[in-house]
């Protein structure tokens, strides 16, 4: 398997603000890769550098085997992009925008276009001026998904969509994956990433702080435990974090590697009831942002 996107030590500054600070990321062919991070962490800047809209200050970036700045036009034939904040030409209708972008990329599938318009319940005759944020996003999504491209770059594509449309979006992305397309999905909707992505990269302050499959990330981290005890432990417990007590009930996070020791230790206090859960993506994510 080859890498569709390879980024090493990428830096970008806007004036005195350092937006990207040595970012490393790899996206493999055929995977749906989640790009997670809060607002302002550098997700959009990274995507715009991948598109050659912004110029990198340092580091190496390869996209589909080419240089995203120098080979922009050639590379753009093979990818489609949905910006996070979609601006359209106000006097063009949605259908006209979809066709214009399709003709530009040169590989538009007319049947797929009509099917997507119907599934996303878009009225293509309305002028772009009158669309809501969600509808503008649908226009960009339909244009991107109707193109026969190798790579989809999606920047928070569902931030304006309602839940039924979000569900349709997930279906469509799953279809794209089955066709072998690579998807880089920037998002902060964790359920969406959990449902769709093979691997994730978590960005914070312009650096990747965690990357891998969800299973790998979970393994690296902690288990949430809630237990009902006969006696409450007086001091702390080894390998235990964020301990809180409420009568005989304790909640804590335990290091996954030491879960056996923790349970053995806990037994001394007379366990009446216990539940242990693998961390959710949300917990993983929040650990980096607290």
């Amino acid at each position: 398997m080859t890498d569709v996107i390879e980024i090493h030590g990428l830096t970008k500054e806007f004036g005195r603000v350092r937006a990207l600070d040595g970012l490393d990321m790899t996206v493999r062919e055929g995977e749906v890769h989640g790009f997670l991070g809060p607002n302002g962490a550098g997700k959009t800047t990274t995507l715009r550098i991948l598109l050659g809209l912004l110029r990198k200050d340092g580091g190496q970036v390869r996209l589909l085997g080419g240089d995203p700045w120098a080979d922009a036009v050639e590379l753009h034939r093979r990818l489609a992009y949905v910006p996070g904040d979609v601006t359209l030409w106000p006097s063009l209708s949605g259908g006209e925008v979809i066709d214009l972008l399709g003709r530009l990329r040169g590989r538009a599938d007319a049947r797929r276009r009509d099917e997507l318009i119907e599934r996303f319940a878009l009225d293509p005759r309305k002028k772009a001026r009158t669309y809501s944020k969600g509808n503008r996003q649908k226009v960009a999504l339909i244009a991107a998904l109707a193109s026969e491209v190798e790579l989809l770059l999606l920047d928070e594509p569902t931030s304006g969509l309602d839940p039924p449309m979000e569900a349709i979006f997930r279906e469509v992305v799953a279809e794209e994956r089955r066709k072998g397309r690579t998807v880089l999905l920037s998002s902060h909707i964790l359920a969406e990433v959990e449902a769709l992505c093979d691997r994730v990269s978590i960005i914070r302050d312009g650096r990747i702080v965690e990357a891998g499959t969800l299973a790998q990330l979970r393994h690296l981290t902690r288990v949430s435990v809630t237990a009902e005890l006969a006696r409450v432990p007086a001091g702390g417990l080894p390998h235990v974090h964020d301990l809180s007590t409420d009568g005989g009930r304790v909640r804590f996070q335990a290091d996954t590697d030491h879960i056996g020791d923790v349970l053995a230790h806990l037994a001394q206090y007379g366990v009446r009831d216990i539940t242990a859960q693998p961390p959710t993506l949300e917990e993983l994510f929040m650990r980096h942002y607290r």
């Binding site: 006209e96 005759r125 002028k127 009158t130």
Partner: protein, 518 residues
């Protein structure tokens, strides 16, 4: 509620543009008075000038009659109408920016969700724009008095200019209620203003029998304030009543519509793109076709009007000695011919430059549509498609204006020669805007417009004699000048074209290297 907070917001957002336009118009008045003093140094000269004006149809149509025989009356006759147009233009742009543009771009929604009354945004915008015009009136009065003109006349001129702004703002306040597009609202308000202005011109042209026609439109009221000729102050009461009525209508209309909507329902577009809408060129055509058509039509009308009326101007001015000094400065023996050439030249140079710079700067708005440039299209191709219009539409405008001139004068070759010769100069102005856009990102627009203001200032200063010939030569238009200063041959025209192409190349090179403004 909270209108004052919104007023402060508008003042903050426009802290550069507001003072700039007010000062520019005041400066324009100051240079006019100085020019008239230079051109008409004696009382006889003024008297003679005023007599000639009464017989010149083009001047009556575009400027109106003189209402006195003093320097002040001559200056007001020359430029008071122009100050009303400038004030109206600036007021319409500002009012639309703070009402419909805010709505179109969703900012109004943010404000509307705060503790702000439904009427507050329109009230705030109107307050600021009406207030700015009041300041303009005061400033023009001060400029007039300090130039030695009578205070009453100076104040009347100031109020006349401000009335132009007030009426423009009032028309815009109604227009923004009707349509969803800020661009359409602004264009509609200005078209109505300008049509009313021309109606007043027809009335002045028609003599006393047609005077009633001018009284039908507000432009007829404030242009008949008779500055420096026995001021009729009561016309400003009519203007105030008109503005109040329009503002009332605007508030009534806005109460009947939803936020973001217009009263005229938006039309549906096609579900599929027509075959022509493909690639950068197809998109540029869609972006520019409406404006291009409007400008070319305008050029045809103004050209034909000048051609038809200009001939009479040539005859009447041929016998007048009033413009001898100035004709001498331009190096021409026949003041009549040179006057006609000047009018054509000034109209063509400044309006077509305005179009060219505006068209180049549309690139900035289009740059924000990230979607297009994420497709397989190079920045150069995208920019070149827009620039094609900045280059070719001026050609069409000047050729059609030249032919339309010929229609009136019967001399098609002469008309064409008069207009098309300035083309390379227009391209240089467009080239400056492209270079600024490519190199500077955000400052691009400021540099482009400053270049135009500087060329106008140089032109005026040269006419008055403040600037000598060699300094004037830095203006591209000095090389294609109507006067004997320039005798543009193929070499000059080719040279200017090369300069324009070079500037455009610098801009495109800069654009390829810089970050996009998204």
């Amino acid at each position: 509620m909270n209108t004052t907070a919104l007023i402060r917001l508008i003042l903050r957002r426009d802290r550069v543009w507001q003072p700039l336009w007010i000062l520019s118009v005041a400066l324009f008045v100051a240079t006019t008075v100085a020019t008239i003093r230079q051109l008409l140094p004696t009382r006889d000269a003024v008297l003679h000038y005023v007599e000639e004006i009464a017989r010149n149809p083009v001047i009556l149509l575009l400027q109106g009659p003189a209402y006195g025989d003093s320097v002040g009356a001559a200056a007001a006759q020359q430029r008071a109408a122009a100050t009303t147009i400038f004030a109206a233009l600036a007021s319409i742009v500002l009012l639309v920016k703070h009402t419909r543009s805010d709505e179109e771009q969703g900012r109004r929604e943010l404000v509307g969700s705060a503790a702000v009354g439904r009427r507050a945004p329109l009230t705030a915008a109107l307050t600021v724009v009406l207030g700015a015009n009041l300041m303009l009136a005061a400033l023009i009065a001060v400029v007039g008095v300090s130039a030695g003109l009578p205070p009453a006349g100076s104040l009347a001129w100031g109020l006349t200019a401000a009335s132009g702004g007030w009426v423009g703002a009032a028309l815009a306040a109604v227009a923004v209620q009707l349509t969803q597009s800020a661009r359409v609202a602004g264009a509609a308000a200005f078209t109505v203003f300008f049509a009313a202005y021309l109606l007043r011109g027809v009335s002045d042209l028609g003599g006393p029998g047609m005077e009633w026609l001018g009284w039908l439109v507000p432009n007829g009221w404030f242009l008949r304030a008779r500055a420096f000729g026995g001021e009729q102050w009561w016309v400003f009461a009519l203007v105030a009543a008109f503005v109040a009525a329009m503002a009332w209508a605007a508030f009534a209309l806005s109460a009947r519509r939803d936020l973001g909507a217009g009263l005229l329902p938006p039309r549906l577009g096609p579900a599929r793109a027509p075959a022509g809408l493909r690639g950068p060129l197809g998109l540029a055509w869609r972006t520019h076709r409406g404006a291009a058509l409007a400008w070319i039509t305008g050029a045809a009308f103004i050209g034909a009007g000048l051609g038809l009326g200009g001939q009479t101007a040539v005859e009447t001015f041929g016998q007048s000695g009033a413009l001898d000094y100035w004709a001498g400065r331009t190096g021409e023996d026949d003041p009549a011919r040179i006057f006609f050439k000047l009018v054509v030249y000034e109209l063509a140079v400044f309006s077509v430059s305005l179009y060219a710079i505006m068209t180049v700067l549309r690139l900035r708005g289009d740059e924000a549509t990230e979607l297009f440039l994420s497709g397989p299209v190079s920045r150069t191709r995208w920019a070149a498609a827009h620039l094609l219009f900045a280059v070719t539409v001026p050609v069409a405008m000047l050729v059609i204006a030249g032919l339309a001139l010929g229609l009136g004068t019967g001399d098609f070759a002469g008309g064409l020669a008069l207009t098309t010769v300035i083309l390379p100069g227009i391209w240089v102005m467009a080239g400056i805007a492209v270079a600024a856009f490519g190199l500077f990102r955000r400052a691009g627009a400021v540099v482009g417009w400053t270049a135009l203001v500087l060329t106008i200032a140089l032109e005026v200063a040269w006419e008055v004699g403040l600037v000598n010939d060699s300094l004037f030569m830095i203006s591209p238009f000095a090389h294609v000048h109507y006067s004997t200063l320039a005798s543009p041959g193929p070499g000059t025209l080719a040279g200017l074209t090369v300069v324009a192409a070079g500037l455009a190349a610098v801009g495109l090179y800069g654009l390829r290297r810089r970050d996009l403004t998204l």
